[in-house]
């Protein structure tokens, strides 16, 4: 029997597969298509201190092998989440990773204080320093070493729970922001969030998205995610969670070889709810045929030229 469990620091996951933030809401809808008990965990939609309505107008555009979104962090706010969603999420029997977004540093600290309290049953805090669809906060912090360091360091003061830092690929050097996260006490980095993009309607000559720009996700971004994970694996000492366009067991294996301890599946789970079950079965087949006893042995085994 293949051992699918993986470790991300102190956190033991039943499987390397996690559902990515913003692509599975709070799990209610995917739970109708997928047995969440067998996956490693589920990342909530990005939460903010106060409820947010998100962006107006058209929020999505299709691209070859991917999609743009400009949801703009629509969410019910952290308090409504705790009251209305968390109890139900706990019933899935898998790890709960809360994705946290803020306008300013104080927002992040206050949410870390609320969600990081030992009495609140969430397992991991994932700092979203990478959402490209809001005017303030998020990606503005994730774009610089100082911004990343300041938030992660501050958040660490408020909680003993594992803190994962989800970084933006919209930077010149991903290793610099990743190292800043590690130096500030991050438990892991999550690579990558969406790439900033645009779609244009030639009839109106306007951007399709009313926000003008949006975040690109899906298989189109997979090579970029792999490259960034492999780069960071060479310099980091903390675990890496891979994310970006994963569609199959083969993709999961590629991400693990590049250096990921676990992976998140986003867009492809939106398109094909139930995909984790298929990927899990295929991972088991692969490991059996390759005589791999522990899937986690694959992590960081890239043989560079």
């Amino acid at each position: 029997m293949v051992d699918l469990t993986v470790r991300v620091g102190p956190t033991v996951l039943k499987s390397p597969l996690l559902l990515a933030s913003g692509t599975c809401g709070f799990g209610r809808e995917v739970a109708e298509y997928e047995d969440l008990f067998v996956i490693g965990g589920i990342c909530t939609k990005g939460l903010t201190l106060m409820p947010r309505l998100g962006n107006e107008g058209c929020r999505t555009a299709e691209t070859p092998s991917g999609m743009l979104n400009s949801v703009g962090l629509q969410n019910p706010g952290v308090h409504a989440f705790l009251r209305d969603e968390l109890p139900n999420m706990r019933s899935f029997g898998t790890k709960i990773i809360v994705n946290v977004a803020g306008h300013d540093t104080d927002d992040y600290f206050r949410m870390a204080q609320i969600l990081g309290d030992p009495s609140v049953p969430v397992d991991v805090i994932e700092l979203n320093l990478s959402c490209p669809n809001v005017k303030e906060g998020c990606m503005t912090f994730g774009a610089s070493e100082e911004g990343v360091y300041q938030i992660v360091k501050g958040v660490r003061e408020y909680t003993d729970k594992p803190v994962w830092v989800k970084l933006t690929p919209n930077v010149t050097s991903i290793t610099e922001t990743a190292l800043a996260a590690e130096n500030a006490g991050a438990g892991a980095v999550v690579l990558i969030n969406t790439l900033l993009g645009m779609a244009i309607d030639i009839k109106s000559r306007r951007p399709v998205l009313q926000n003008n720009t949006g975040g690109l996700s899906g298989p189109a971004i997979k090579p970029i995610a792999l490259r960034m994970i492999a780069e960071c694996d060479q310099v980091l000492h903390i675990p890496i969670i891979g994310c970006g366009g994963i569609a199959s067991a083969k993709d999961v294996i590629e991400f693990m070889i590049a250096g990921a301890s676990a992976v998140q599946i986003g867009t492809m789970s939106l398109l094909h709810p139930g995909i984790c079950e298929k990927i899990t079965n295929d991972l088991i087949c692969y490991a059996e045929s390759e005589s791999i006893e522990r899937l986690s042995d694959l992590t960081g085994t890239l043989l560079r030229w």
């Binding site: 692509t23 809808e29 999505t60 991917g66 949801v71 899906g218 398109l271 709810p273």
Partner: protein
């Protein structure tokens, strides 16, 4: 557990110049679909495309959709030959409400007529008297007329060109209704947004309850991604409005809730 189905296209019939009726085999969807619900159908593009259910045959285990060719995705679907397999999610969303309905007036335009055909069929099964009002550009654009006559007690047509039925649009048809025809009626409307907005305004003036089916660009279709939201009236004090998911809370809404 729900699942994404991989199902074959059984038939593809052109109705009119740019519109096709496609029938698929799926016991599950045929048994579960209600009028106003939709299915999300794959093509050779990245995202699936949503289409209202036109008809079901639970005994045969089949369902149909009507598709107008407007771009690459609908083009692929309209060109598909029987035997082609599609990935389909459905039935999705909330359909029309028939509870305590004494009389139905179904008002359609464009591709909106497809889900209304299913609603009228259901009304007939429930013994609810019905009136169908469909608007087209001109006589040559009229489709599925006999199919509507099969399920509705009365069918009236408007054409912008005025070469068939009442000249003008469906609001002209509405303004021709008698007191008797309007009494206790519930309106169901699907079509271009501007048409539904005008129908909703008319219904409000006439004091009639109206259900509208909204269209937004979608990705998942199941309520997980929030790209398809519609603007509806606030519930709590201090809230300017709410963003609700077209695919999950909708696509059918009470017209009085919608912010156009």
């Amino acid at each position: 557990m729900k699942k994404e189905y991989r199902i074959p296209l059984l038939s593809n019939v052109a109705v009119g110049s740019a519109t096709h009726v496609l029938t698929f085999r799926s016991k599950e969807i045929a048994a579960a679909a209600n009028p106003g619900q939709f299915v999300n159908v794959s093509s050779d593009l990245f995202l699936k495309r949503p289409f209202g259910v036109l008809d079901t045959d639970p005994e045969a285990g089949t369902f149909s959709i009507g598709v107008r060719r407007i771009g690459a995705g609908t083009g692929y679907i309209c060109d598909a030959v029987p035997g082609t397999f599609f990935e389909v999610l459905g039935p999705l969303g909330n359909g029309f409400v028939f509870d305590q309905t004494k009389r139905i007036i179904a008002i359609g335009g464009g591709t909106g007529i497809f889900p209304l055909r299913f609603a009228l069929k259901r009304a007939r099964e429930l013994g609810i008297p019905s009136l169908s009002l469909n608007g087209f550009r001109s006589k040559s654009d009229i489709i599925l007329l006999s199919s509507f006559e099969e399920v509705a007690d009365q069918v009236r047509i408007s054409t912008d060109a005025g070469d068939f039925g009442t000249k003008g649009n469906v609001v002209n048809l509405l303004s021709e209704l008698t007191k008797e025809e309007m009494k206790d009626a519930i309106l169901m409307t699907v079509g271009p947004e501007i048409m539904m907005k005008n129908v909703a305004k008319w219904a409000d003036g006439a004091g009639l309850f109206c259900q509208v089916s909204l269209e937004k660009r979608m990705a998942c279709g199941i309520g997980a991604c929030l790209v398809c939201v519609c603007k509806v009236k606030a519930e709590a004090e201090g809230e300017p409005f709410r963003h609700v998911r077209c695919c999950k809370e909708g696509p059918v809404f009470a017209a009085s809730e919608v912010i156009w």
